[in-house]
Point group: C2
Chain length 313, copies 2
């Protein structure tokens, strides 16, 4: 019995500060309709898909709070849930989460075609800084606005609509950290969904990285980590110029060999599609990357014992 | 003060069972001379550079023992040590090691331009099987002939000839495991040397992998892991047809952005060269991959707690 899921990536062009919630939701709905019309059973939206990438601004109070969702779904987002269920398509959605207890996370959810929330993920690898960088035109203040994700890297067993796929989520910077992928790989993940907002320049203030190099990095880590964990991966950007600050595109769908099978060509709203045969994961999982047979955890101790570098003397 | 090392990869074409030790050593010496003539201060030879890839055969006794080095250097290999020291060039050499206690390892050493052995590494990620695969024309019996490496993944601080580079070694299959790279990355590695003998077909008996795909995998993992650990990497093949069994080439030198800066074009003896500026590692190590600031080991527990997969129910 075939285990093929038609998956869409819904790259989004920029969302300006001035864009209304309604305007943005209309774009999400158009992308959802387009993906469904092409037969997709899952559409992956970007990180922080409902707003501009607000961590580039030093803000506070009501202005900051306006970027957060206080429940999910909520009245603003309910039309997406309703339309997806009517069309029989599930989705991955990234958003800024404010909990009733006052915590703040950079969060994503996976919603199945029947409208049920399969799982939630809170971003573990927050980049940037707590304090603004003096003199910088754009900041990267994720460490200021969000707490570190407290859910680990859970994998979820989907229902029949997705052929009981073992699914996992990441958000943006997580994809550059092989530990994120391995944590999902150790749960047998077959399909990794991730959204991103990645600057088209060095967000840490250096001068050596441009949009071409950063798009290369983004694609490279999706390819290699998909291969090394024998999984499909769908990596989806919010792209283009948001209020003058550039974001890379390059949204892609990668197979368990690390081959790019679909990639966005623009920096705007754009659907990419692939038929993902989950059973293609078996070649890697059963042979080269048969973890039980070939991993040697006794020699990996430093990976969990410490965060930072200790150089040889 | 500039920290540029001119590094060579000395890809080797096939070494047949019938080839004499003298014949093979003459090839190594020619490659060493060529690399030194081009100004290299380090030349990386392949895994098991002194012999054919004998784990493809089911053998025992004297025949098997003949493939192992019982000391290093020994009379057969001393000419390489002597000539390298005279030329002021260091090298990485892979070989089959038999210890005085009767242990057997798939081993590599790094020798500095002054002739001193900077460090030794014993392959941790042994692929293949203990028992031969029935009916297979070629075996992959590394788990039969070698013990798992017992030295972990040590990094070594080189001397002035190599600008005090933090260096590390891997062997072949290790490169497909992000844990190998991360263990070196956590020691601040700036230059990873690795040799390989990788089949041009699926060594585990599948039908879906060919030489093109396997060369892509080999290059991909060097690129992505070099980037994710902000290090240079030099990956060097023994290539071509050994007694009818194909090995991929694709030897490459990769920079800390994951960009291939030199790659072999043949399946034969071939030198590739690059000037490796160790200070290019700082961009990654200080910013995106500042491990102390951004890694979250509390969420990586499964990586060291277990070897194999546990799927969600």
């Amino acid at each position: 019995m075939s285990r093929i899921i038609r998956v869409a990536g819904a790259q989004m062009g920029p969302t300006q500060k001035a864009d209304s919630r309604d305007h943005t939701m209309a774009r999400l709905l158009r992308l959802l309709e387009d993906a469904a019309a092409q037969g997709a059973k899952l559409v992956v939206f970007p990180e922080l898909a409902l707003t501009t990438f607000f961590p580039r601004w030093l803000i506070a109070g009501t202005e900051l709070d306006g970027y957060f969702e206080h429940s999910m779904p909520n009245a603003d987002v309910q039309p997406l849930f309703n339309r997806a269920r009517a069309l029989g398509i599930g989705f991955y959605l990234g958003y800024a989460e404010a909990t009733p207890e006052g915590q703040h996370f950079n969060t994503a959810i996976l919603v199945q075609p029947d409208g049920s929330i399969l799982g939630q993920y809170r971003k573990v690898h927050l980049p940037g800084s707590v304090e603004p960088r003096p003199g910088a035109l754009y900041q990267q203040l994720e460490k200021r606005y969000f707490q570190y994700g407290d859910l680990g890297f859970p994998a979820f067993r989907a229902g029949e609509d997705w052929h009981k796929a073992v699914t996992g989520m990441m958000i943006c910077n997580d994809r550059r950290w092989p530990e994120s992928w391995r944590m999902l790989g150790l749960q047998g993940v077959e399909l990794v969904c991730l959204g991103y907002n990645s600057a088209a320049y060095d967000p840490n203030g250096g001068k050596t990285e441009d949009a071409v190099l950063r798009t290369f990095h983004s694609t490279l880590v999706a390819q290699a980590n998909a291969y090394m964990n024998a999984t499909w991966a769908v990596a989806v950007a919010k792209a283009g110029e948001e209020d003058g600050s550039g974001l890379i595109g390059g949204s892609c769908i990668v197979d368990p060999n690390g081959l790019v099978v679909a990639q966005a060509k623009t920096l705007g709203d754009e659907i990419i599609i692939a038929d993902c045969d989950l059973d293609l994961c078996r070649q890697g999982k059963d042979k080269m990357f048969n973890f039980a047979a070939h991993r040697r955890p006794a020699h990996y101790a430093a990976i969990t014992e410490r965060a930072g570098v200790i150089e040889p003397s």
